[in-house]
Every structure is written in structure tokens, then in C-alpha cells.
Symmetry: C2
Subunit: 798 residues, 2 copies
């Protein structure tokens, strides 16, 4: 673990009190600003030193060939990678002709603060130039939630100890030189100089660059305008070249007489619109930003975030670090999704180029559950992107001898970009994950228009996929063979429990939705024969279970595989996939990440309480958490099965994944799904929130099963459902349900209905859970914060 | 099917009566000459036109990087490919300054004959030059079986209709320009200009070139010397450049006055020896060839082949095409292996660059069974190559978290070159195939020295691999999970029947061999505990069987998979792997090639007769024969289960695989294993030859179960075992066993012992087998020569 001693623990912000050049790439990720459309990494204003410069637009990518030493039918030939677009962040500074580069001179003070309530990244630096002049630099930066195409910066410089002549260069830069990242095979090579210049402009205080990508043929425009405040000596000129457009401001400054530059940047891109259309689009957006002004943008940002926090905040008492982490997490989850507007939510948001900027299943399975309760319109938007990609998914299904639609494992533009089919194409569960995200969204929000216009299409095409993918055996049992579940240390198995349970939901939900919208269903060619086939497949779905052990099998036969030899696995051999071949991982009992555990989270009705306890303990002993997607799910099920101390340890792991860089790759961008998992662990784990279809596919009530770990004295969170806003406030021995807004609402408290109205909060007792031996983890894989393996494992919970 | 009307059917040769430029690449493969060390494709003497120029040395290759869009632990980083080395075949001709290129001028006559008894490829051409002069060109070519480093050519040209000035250029050429082959992903790209010049020499009639490969760092030497016979006007000069060394002979010829050139070529290569050592080696070899002279080399070649045919010939009456095909097959199998001398036998021999010149498991499982009975010293040689590669195989096992030795799926130098692990690394059966080839060799030849010196090492290290790869489950059953069997349309399965049966043999044979050689076993660290573990694993080996269907499962659960929809598969979609994704093939009941059928061939004792009948019929209905390795095995089991007409159809398919280019890739080289399969189908199928360890691993007797299909009136074949030479002569209703040489021998005739001595042939009755419905093939995959699917399938056998 890389500790980051310069982060202070504060409830509403992330503060870095000194600059640590060794951790600069990580800090660029955690200080990244985004609104889901534009992403700016937390690079220093001066551009350098940097870990990875990054400015991104959701959906802007370049293609590259995917090489295969031995190719096969249906392998995607072309991959996609998110590219670093025109960088509008850069404001270079010269002090008496010395470039301000913090690697030189002397840095007296450097602080950065990301404020989760204002959405502004602030920076203060005091720097002594190599020439001996001390200057104070402050900047504030935002990517606007209200003006989707806009980002803005205020940059101020002032000498402290005598006069200084300064030059400030505010730039738009395309094709920035990128450092090459190596080591982890999962980090794909960045694409060099992806932008071909089309137009370059600089006049007065206005800058503009238009570029086009070669293979993906996307046009990217960036424009900027400025306001300059300074002494009379202040002068400026604007210049442009194909890859840079620059405003240079010079001034002679004295202490007390700062130079202040307001920079308004706008972005636009299109795969279809002309040069002049994109030019006008970005100029127009800049003009709107100038018109709002910096203060206006800041005020709007605060209003937007106030509204978000009112419906999404989680209060945590007893652990200030978790309090900070969950707000950090929610802030970044919001940033990844807020204004995507029918675009994807990538695995790293727009905070870095990890996973090539691709979106995976964890958007639907980890990020959307949080957003559904806290920012539901962002869920509808991201699901509309999936809906827009249906034609490509249908084509992919046909290519692979299947029916319906088959969504890509990893993608930016909707076409498959995974070059390893056992962990890509074969991971069919993504199709149910998408379908059930749509079902969850409709269930929680009541957005029937969405179900009718988009949801039904998603459900029908995925149901058709499952029906064709699986088959009834001689006894009528429905099997799904040759698929890979969430656990990437198994592959190409029969009847992955998670996949089959999700497919079962998917098939039933499709049949039910078709019945609710018969006219739309008829348009899609769905008839009673077809829905009967879906229901029959669902009813006869194989759910592997080992009677002797009394546990569900991750897939058929899994519990009879050889156990991984954890005792012979040294700590440095984790993550295992970098030290052992797939074939060995696949054929043994070793679990990378929650799989049966995730099934119990997604389909709780399919398991008795005792089964949950036994399953959790069984898989706990096999799960090495080599994926950032695991700890949060384990936290939820640990809490449900009464292992609160363990749940708390997993909550902590999920919460600190990026703040403590637990997987050593935060430099490449944040783990948005694991951040979302912080909320899941708190709200789903200690709040016990569940909202699912029941075994027959009927909607149940919103349920809670609150229970705190010893370390926490209180948590409180707000969730939104169908125009209602419910605050759940949990202390050790009671939970208070308070309706903040909306019609009276009935929820379940440990299965018992509780009706709340706006006037009347309701308190309910929380009873301690019974002591139970804490399950074992694989040797050496015990989470931080628990007694060591040698100590007795009796649960200390009272 | 590409028919080749210009091949005539003759018992002892392959004759092409005209030149078909569309089929030139195929003819280059079928007319290839080799002794297992040197390989010369049947290119025209003039070099062009050509399909693929090719001169190869067994073991000479270049490395190339293996690209992965998503790499994984244990993936080989570097591949190997056999390279086209210095071409010594080329003899260019100019007639009155017109280059002799058969694409120009007019070809009056062109005949090529490959004589299986002399081992000489003869050519006669009558060509009218663009200038109008008719010349007669004859050449004969051999790659010597007796002088391993030597090949030789006699080239003669004579004008027929008037005087002509001719120039003949006899060359050594390195880095020939190669055509690029495309289309089939299995054909890897050839490597351009792989040879770096080291030395170039030409003086008098002597030529020499020395080159080195870049990455594999192998030194390749070629030398030539010539005898020239011509009229007084004959002159010659020698010249050399880095990549070409050339003797140019000019003469003024008249009808009746030919120019004749004898060319003796020698090759040598080494990864260790110096330039001067290799230089001396090739010069010495040329001198020896010159000393023997053309006639001497031809006489030695004939003697060598007479001896081979005396111990290996198969006579076939009733089908002249099969008679020719089996001799063509035996000739090429011999060529691939004869003088390899501790090198591999590649899948294509040295006839082309198909499969990159790699060796696979089919060498041990298809080629070696034939050679063990017909040229056993070649088997010992090829197994010694495997033995030499043990250190690399041990290292690979360690890399993959295994024990013992793990042989590469495809290789030239002993390191893994397979870039697709589900059909490479996971195909563990190759290790048992190698081990059991050694067991078979010792069993048939009685070569105990080999067992002691090499066989035991191979057995012990593979047994250790199996013991570590598999595991006992809670009931004590030994499972081998996550492996791929011979059928490449399944992968990563539990308990592949073939693999488990072979592993069981392997484990027992290792324990037995260790007991026979306790001192050597001790050296290898084998103790009684270890062999007890091997025997226990063997005794408890899982052998999947479906009780309801009464058939063995190719792997656990296979018979419960969905059936492939053959009716919906159009003929143009074969081979399936080019039209459907692996994941779909893997999870359905569809079989590329013999797998359970091969298990029944290799381990006949493990099945009752009824099981064989049921298994054969069951898998027959699923097997599409998209591999050239299938038909011959199906022929053997079809014969054993009484389907003689079907067996004959499969024999024909195996026999004509290359002569009729059934898989459309004979241009890349011959299918040596399928050629060997012709012998297996005849001798193993209609002769019923079996020689295996029994269920307990004890050697049984050599057994026969002769039975002819209606189309054949007689087959006779000779097999060698432990210094004995047995001729088995089969007619419709009797089999005659005649000992040609050696001590009295007891064999089994349909399970009944028959003792033969040199003086006394023994006749035994052959009773017709009972009629049985002929099994069905998948729709559209019925072999040629049978009534169509619609007709009744009652066996017509009397």
C-alpha cells in the first residue's frame, strides 16, 4: 500500500498539504474534475511536472488494430482507446524569464483542495524562482455541471518579496507528448499524436483549435476566451499554430498587485457535424460561459451539488476517514456520470486512460445501483447509450451464431474491443447486467416511459440471447454452457450460478415487460410462444448446488475442483494472474472476485439465510480479491451474514482503493466501480438496503436491515425513489426512517413494513446479531484492520 | 475437392503427365524429396514458375515475436518458423538468350515421375522457346538416404530441331523472394530474408555459401560441385555474391549433342560450430558425393529403399488408387523421418512451411505407430529429440506451476510456440502421447537400452506432470481438470476420456519402468511413495460415462451439451472454425476429429465390444472431420465395429488427403500424419493390428483381426518386431501369417494364438462380421463413395 500522508482527513474535501512528485500521477487521478462529458486530470496548471497529462471527452477515441499471433473467427480486428484531446488546462508561468516548473527553484508551500460541495479544485503555491523571487500562485478550476461543454480556471500570480515581470501563457494544446506506461499488460499502449489539425485560431483573448482523428473520424473542437485583470503594464497577444493556440499575458507586478486571468474553455466533438458547425458550437459555449462569468459558474456549480448532496449524502460517525471517503466516492461517481447524456460511463470515468477508457459490466452492476438511488437521471442517460448501441449488439449476436443482442465486454463505441474471448465474449452476464440495470432503474424510479421506449428493447433482445445461448437437457433442465461469470479466475464453465440467476431474472422481466406493453412487444415480434419459452427456460434454470457441502456452486462442478494451494503462494505472487497461467487458475478453486457472493447480493431471494451464511464462508476462504470489484460485495454479504467486523474491514478496503492506491494503478485513473462500492458497502451492507424483483419477478418493497459495526456509532443516508426522498438514520440500537419529500412510503425494516410520511419519522429497534465464527480468508489475504490469522476468530460483536 | 487429372494411377510411382500451373504449389508438395534432414520441394529446376520455393533443413528456423492484444502470464513471447534456406535446386536455362520459363514459349510435353522404389524424381520436358527452338530437357533429382547431407541432380538439355546456344546456370541462392500466402489464419506469415551472409565462394565447378540467422543464431552452409558433359564448345565460369553462388555453363548444341550437368549439393548447419567448421563440413560432404558419383548415389538409394519396402510394403488388390496412395504415403512418411537423427518429425515433414514447420502430437500418435513397425530406428531418433528437449520441458512445467516436464504443443527447438493456450498449453495429452510412443517403441522393438537411457526419463517426468496436474476428489476419484483433448472443437474440459486413459497408461508405465530400472529410477529421485502415488492416481482415474446413453463421454458432461445444429450449417461453413467462434464450438456437441474414437484405438482394453459399437455410432453422428487427423482413426474403428464399407470410405479419404488436396492446403506441405493414417486404416483397420499394454499395463501379444471391405480382394503387409519380420496376407475368407525372418512368433488372430515360424506360413479363417445399421454422419458430412444420406443404411456386407 502506498500511504499518502499529505492527505488530511476532512469531511467535505480532499486536501493535499504538500506536493509529492513521486505520487503526482495518483494525485492527478484523485483531483480529476469531470462532468461526465469533459474530463480534466488534476494536472498542475503549468502542465509540468506531470504523471500523465489528460483531457478527455466522453466518446472520443481512436481505433487501433488488435494483433493476434493465432487469430480466430469472431475476434475483433480493431480496438478502441480513449485519447488525450486538446488540453485546455495549461497556463504556463514565467517569472522574470524563469519558467515556473516546481522541480526547480524552491517550493515553500503547496496545497490543493478538492471541495465536494463546491466542485472546485483550488490550489495555492508559494514558490521561489531560480532567480530568487518568491511568488504566490493560486488557481481554482472547475468542470461545469450546469454548462456541459464548459470548464473554467482562475489563475492568479503575485510576487511577495519585490517586483517581478511575469508572463502567463494560457494555451490550448493538441497532441501533447505522453509518457509511456509499461508493466501491467492490462494497460494498453497510449496512441501517439492522434489528432490531425484542421483549424487553428487566435485573436484578442480568444483561442480555438479544431482537429480530427484519423481512423475513428471524429472532429474535436476546443475554444477558450479570457478576462485579464492586472496593473496598467499588463499586455497580451494571441498566437496560433496547428497544435497550439496561445494567449500570452505579460505584466510588471509588485507585491499587492496580482495578475489574475479568467479562462473559459469549451469543448465539442462530433462524428458527423462539419468543421464550421463544430467551430460555432464551441465558440457559442465559450460565449455562454463568459456571459455567466466565473462567479456565475461557481454559484451554479454549488447549487447543482447542493441538490445532489441533499439526495445522496451519507453521513458516517465514528470513522472520519470513511466519512471523507464516501463523499469522495460519491463526488467522483457523480462526476463520471452527471452529464454523460446518452454516453457511456467508463470504468475509470474520465480520470485517466486505464482500461483504454472502456466501459464494462461494472457500470451497470456497481455504479448504476448507487446512481439509481442518488442521481437517477444519469442512469437513464447511460442506459440510453446501451440502447443506442443495440444495432451493433444485434450484429455481434448474429456474427456469433446467436440471437437477440450481445453487448460488448469492453467498448467505447459499442463494438467489441476485447481481444481475449474467454474473459470477454464468454462473459455473457454483461447482457443480464444491462437488462437488470434497466429493470432496477424502472423499479426504483417508476419511469414507465423509459421502460416502454428503451427498457423493453433491452429486455427482449437480451432474453432472446439467453434463450438461444442456453438449452434444455434431456430432463428439461435449462443449462447455459461455456460462459464466464464475474470471477475472472474461472472461465468457460457450465451454469455459472450468477449468470444463470441473472439470466433467469432477465427472461422473466422480459416476459413481464412484454405483457405490460403488448403493442410495443408486437412491434418487436414478440408473441406468446416466445415469452412462454422464456418463462420455461427461467423456470427450469440450472442452479448448481453441492448437497454434501450444503453450498451453491459458482459453476457446475466448481466445488469439486482442486483447491488452490494458498499456503504455497507467497505474497509477492498476487495478483495471481501476473504469476500463474490462466489454465491453472481456471481449473482450481480460487476466486478473484465476488461471484456467488454477488449472486447473493443481486438475487437475495434465491438463497435461504443459512445458505447465505454457508456460501459466504465457503467462498470467503477462496477469494483473493485481486479485483477492485470484490471487497465492496464481500462487505455487503459479510454484514448480511452477521460478520460486521469483517464487513467493516471490507468497507475500508473499498473506500481506500484509490485514496490509498491499494492496487497500485490509481495513476491510470480512479476505480469508479469500487468508489461506488463504498456506498454499496455502507448503504447495502450496514443499511441493508435491498430493492429487487422477487423470485417470481414481482417487485417487492424497498427494504432495510440496518446494523452497525462496532467502529461506527452512526450512519445516515438519503435515497430517492419515485419522487420520494427517504433519510435513513442508523445508530447502534435504533434506525430512524424519515421521509424528506414525497408521498407516504412503506419500506421494510428487517422484513416488517414501516410506513413513513413527511411529518412523522419512525424509529425501529435494531437488535444485535448473534455471534458466529468469522470465516477464514485465503492465507495472507486477510483484509487490513483485522486481528492476524493466528488470533481466535470468534466474532466480538455483542 | 480439387481433382488432379494429370496424375496417373500406377502401383510404384506418382506420375504427372502434364504441367498444370494452377496446381503447381500442390505438385511441389507431393513431389518433394527429403531424407528427414534435407527437404527440397518439387520446384521446377529453373526455379520459376513456382508456387512456393522451398529448401529446408530439419531444425533450422528463425524466431519472431508473438503479438498479443491482451497478453497473459506464461504466454510464449517468441515463436519459431522454419525458414527457406539456401536453395541448391536451381538450374536455370537460357536457349539462344531466351530464359527457359514454361509460362512463355510453348510446352509440348511435360512429365514428372516420383519413383517410390528408386527415390528419384524424374522430369522430361519438350519446350519450344519464344525464339522457336525446340529443346528436350530431362532432369533427375534425389535427396540421398545414405549420404544424409547430400542431394544431387542430373540436368540434361538437347535441341531437337536445329542448333542452339544454351547457357545453364547452376546456383546456390539464399533469401529467395517468397510469395505471400494468405487466407487461412493457420498459415503463419513467412519470414523475409532470414539469412545474413557470412561467406560466399565460387571457383572452378565449386560453389559455397555460408549464412547465419539473426535471432536463432544458426549457421547454415551449402556447397555444390559439378561434373559437366557436353560438346567441345562447352565452357563454364563460377561467380559469387553474398546471396548467390553460380556456375554458368555455355555450349553450342545440335540435335543428338546434349549438355549434361551433374550437380552435387551438400548442406550443413549448426548453432555452435564455427564458420570454418561448417565450411569444411559441407565441402567434405560434397567431396564424398562426388566420389560416390550420381550412379553410386542412385544405387545406394535403391538399396536403401529395397530394404525399406521389404519390411514395410503394403499390397492392395482391388483398388489401384489405394495401392498407389499407401506407397506414396509410406514413401513420404519415410522421407520425413529417415535421417532426422535426433531431430523432430514436423507435421508437414520437410515438404512445405505449413504450421511453420512445427512438430505436434500427431508425430507420436500417428506417424510413430507406422514407423515403429516399418522403420523403428527413425522412431528412436525422433524420441531422442524429445528426450533432448526435456530440460526445456521441465522449465516450462515449472513456469506453469506444475511438476515434471511439459512438452510444447508446437515447436521446432523445444520451446512452446503456441499462441492460443486453450488449444495449445491446455492440450496436455501430448505428454502422454510422447510417453506412450516410447512405450510402444520399446514394446514392439524390445529396445531395452532405449528404455533405460531415454524412455524412463520421458516416463518419469510425464508421470510427475500428470500427478501434479490432476487431483483426487473427496471420493478419491482422480480428476484432470481444465484440459483440451484431441478434438479441437472442445477445450478446457474436465476429464477428457482420451487424456485420462492415456495419462493412466503413462502413470502405470512409468511406475513399471521404474521398477525395471531401480538404479536409474533412484537417480531420478523416484521412490516407492512416488510410484504408489502414480498407481493410485491411475487406479482411481475418472473415465466419464453416460449410463443413460450407454456411451463414454468425450469429457465430463459432454453428452449433455447442446447438439450442434448440423441441419442449419451450410456446406460452405466448413471447416467450422473459420465460420463460428470457438466459444460456440466448445460448448456444443460437435467434434472436429477423433477423440473418444482415438481413445478406443489407443486403449482398446478399456472398452467392451458393445461400448465400442455404441461409442463409435454416437460420436460418428457428431464428427465433422475438419481435421486431417480424423478419417484414418474413424476407418480403424469403423472396421473394428463392423462397418467395413464406411471404413473403406474413410481409408479412401485419408489416402487421398494430399493426392486430391481434400483440405485445400496441400500447397503448404503434405499432411504426414494423415499419410501415416493410410497405413493405419489399412493395417490397423482391415488388418486389425493392435499392440498395446493391457489394462494393467502388461504387454500383450501382437494381435490381428483381419477383415476386408467388399471393394478389396486382398491386402498384404509386412511388420517388424524384435528382429522378426511378419507378412500378413489377407483375402476375403482367410488370412495367411508368414514369418519372413526371425525367431518363431506367436500372434493373435481374433484373440486366438497363432505361432508362426520361417518355414511354415499359417492360414486362418476370416469369418464375415454380422450386419449392423451403418451409423449416421452429421448432415452433409458423409464421406465420399457411400450412398447418399437418403438411401437406406443397412450394411450390405455379407
Amino acid at each position: 500500500m502506498i500511504t499518502h500522508p499529505s492527505f488530511t482527513v476532512e469531511p467535505w474535501c480532499l486536501r493535499e498539504s504538500e506536493l509529492n512528485l513521486d505520487l503526482i500521477a495518483q494525485s492527478e487521478s484523485v483531483f480529476a474534475l469531470s462532468n461526465g462529458h469533459i474530463g480534466w486530470r488534476g494536472n498542475l496548471d503549468e502542465g509540468e511536472p506531470h504523471g500523465l497529462p489528460g483531457a478527455y471527452l466522453n466518446g472520443v477515441f481512436e481505433r487501433h488494430p488488435l494483433p493476434y499471433a493465432e487469430a480466430g473467427y469472431g475476434y475483433p480486428e480493431s480496438g478502441q482507446t480513449m485519447i488525450n484531446i486538446t488540453d485546455g488546462k495549461i497556463i504556463r508561468l514565467l517569472v522574470d524569464d524563469h519558467p515556473c516548473d516546481l522541480r526547480y527553484g524552491r517550493l515553500l508551500e503547496h496545497e490543493r483542495v478538492l471541495d465536494f460541495r463546491t466542485g472546485v479544485l483550488s490550489r495555492t503555491a508559494r514558490w521561489v524562482s531560480p532567480g530568487g523571487r518568491t511568488v504566490r500562485i493560486t488557481s481554482r478550476r472547475l468542470v461545469s455541471f450546469t454548462q456541459r461543454a464548459v470548464a473554467a480556471i482562475v489563475y492568479e500570480v503575485e510576487p511577495e518579496d519585490g517586483p517581478a515581470t511575469v508572463a502567463v501563457q494560457s494555451e490550448l494544446v493538441a497532441n501533447e507528448q505522453l509518457p509511456s506506461l509499461q508493466g501491467d499488460p492490462r494497460v494498453a499502449a497510449a496512441i501517439e499524436s492522434p489528432l490531425t489539425p484542421e483549424e487553428s485560431f487566435a485573436q484578442g483573448t480568444r483561442l480555438r483549435l479544431l482537429h480530427c482523428t484519423d481512423r475513428s473520424a471524429l472532429r474535436v473542437g476546443a475554444a477558450a476566451d479570457h478576462l485579464v485583470e492586472g496593473p496598467d503594464s499588463t499586455r497580451w497577444t494571441a498566437q496560433s499554430e496547428p497544435d497550439v493556440s496561445r494567449l500570452t499575458v505579460t505584466a510588471d507586478l509588485t507585491p499587492g498587485q496580482p495578475l489574475r486571468l479568467f479562462k473559459f474553455v469549451a469543448y465539442g466533438w462530433s462524428g458527423e457535424r462539419s468543421q464550421s458547425a463544430v467551430r460555432d458550437q464551441v465558440d457559442g459555449a465559450v460565449a455562454a460561459a463568459v456571459s455567466a462569468g466565473w462567479d456565475g459558474l461557481v454559484a451554479d456549480q454549488r447549487t447543482y451539488l447542493d441538490e445532489f448532496w441533499a439526495g445522496a449524502d451519507v453521513e458516517v460517525e465514528g470513522d472520519a476517514q470513511i466519512q471523507q471517503a464516501v463523499r469522495f466516492a460519491l463526488f467522483h461517481v457523480l462526476q463520471a456520470a452527471a452529464r454523460g447524456e446518452n454516453r457511456a460511463i467508463p470504468a475509470k470515468g474520465l480520470t485517466g486512460t486505464g482500461y483504454d477508457g472502456h466501459s464494462f459490466w461494472d457500470t451497470e452492476s456497481y455504479v448504476m445501483p448507487v446512481l439509481t438511488f442518488t442521481a437517477p437521471e444519469a442512469v437513464a442517460s447511460a442506459l440510453r447509450w446501451r440502447h443506442r448501441m443495440l444495432p451493433a449488439a444485434r450484429e455481434r449476436a448474429r456474427e456469433l451464431n446467436l440471437a437477440g443482442a450481445m453487448f460488448p465486454w469492453r467498448t467505447i463505441d459499442g463494438s467489441e474491443s476485447s481481444a481475449y474471448w474467454p474473459a470477454g465474449t464468454a462473459a455473457f452476464h454483461i447482457n443480464a447486467d444491462i437488462a437488470m440495470a434497466a429493470v432496477r432503474y424502472v423499479l426504483v424510479t417508476g419511469d414507465e416511459e423509459f421502460e416502454r421506449n428503451e427498457g423493453l428493447d433491452l429486455l427482449v433482445d437480451t432474453a432472446r440471447l439467453w434463450r438461444r445461448l442456453g438449452h434444455h437437457d434431456a430432463d428439461g433442465v435449462f443449462h447455459i454452457d461455456g460462459v464466464t461469470g464475474p470471477d475472472e479466475y474461472s472461465a468457460i464453465a457450465r451454469d455459472n450460478l450468477y449468470t444463470n440467476l441473472m439470466a433467469r431474472q432477465n427472461l422473466r422481466a422480459a416476459a413481464d415487460a412484454a405483457a405490460r406493453h403488448p403493442d410495443r412487444a408486437e412491434e418487436l415480434g414478440v408473441d406468446d410462444e416466445e415469452t412462454a419459452g422464456w418463462r420455461e427456460a427461467a423456470a427450469r434454470m440450472a442452479l448448481p448446488y453441492n448437497e454434501t457441502l450444503g453450498v451453491h456452486e459458482q459453476s457446475a462442478g466448481f466445488t469439486t475442483f482442486q483447491h488452490w494451494d494458498f499456503d504455497a503462494t507467497p505474497p509477492e505472487n498476487y495478483p495471481l494472474l501476473l504469476h500463474y497461467p490462466y489454465f491453472d487458475l481456471y481449473r482450481k478453486q480460487v476466486v478473484k472476485q465476488a461471484d456467488v457472493v454477488l449472486a447473493m447480493l443481486e438475487c437475495p431471494y434465491a438463497f435461504t439465510d443459512d445458505e447465505k451464511v454457508r456460501n459466504f464462508a465457503y467462498y470467503e476462504a477462496l477469494t483473493v480479491r485481486d479485483s477492485s470489484l470484490s471487497a465492496c460485495c464481500q462487505a455487503v454479504l459479510a454484514a448480511e451474514t452477521g460478520h460486521l467486523r469483517l464487513a467493516y474491514a471490507y468497507l475500508t478496503e473499498a473506500a481506500l482503493m484509490d485514496l490509498d492506491d491499494l492496487e497500485h494503478n490509481t495513476r491510470d485513473g480512479l476505480h469508479i466501480a469500487s468508489l461506488a462500492g463504498t456506498w454499496l458497502a455502507l448503504v447495502g451492507g450496514f443499511g441493508g438496503l435491498r430493492r429487487h424483483l422477487d423470485e417470481e419477478g414481482k417487485p417487492g418493497l424497498l427494504g432495510f436491515a440496518p446494523r452497525l459495526p462496532e467502529a461506527l456509532s452512526r450512519i445516515a443516508f438519503t435515497v430517492q425513489t419515485r419522487g420520494q426522498r427517504l433519510k435513513v438514520d442508523i445508530e447502534r440500537d435504533r434506525a430512524r426512517y424519515r421521509l424528506v419529500e414525497g408521498e407516504p412510503l412503506t419500506v421494510l425494516h428487517f422484513g416488517q413494513p414501516v410506513t413513513v410520511t413527511v411529518d412523522k419519522p419512525v424509529d425501529r429497534e435494531v437488535t444485535p446479531c448473534s455471534a458466529r465464527p468469522e470465516p477464514q480468508q485465503p492465507h495472507g489475504r486477510r483484509p487490513e484492520g483485522l486481528p492476524s490469522e493466528e488470533e481466535p476468530h470468534e466474532e466480538t460483536q455483542d
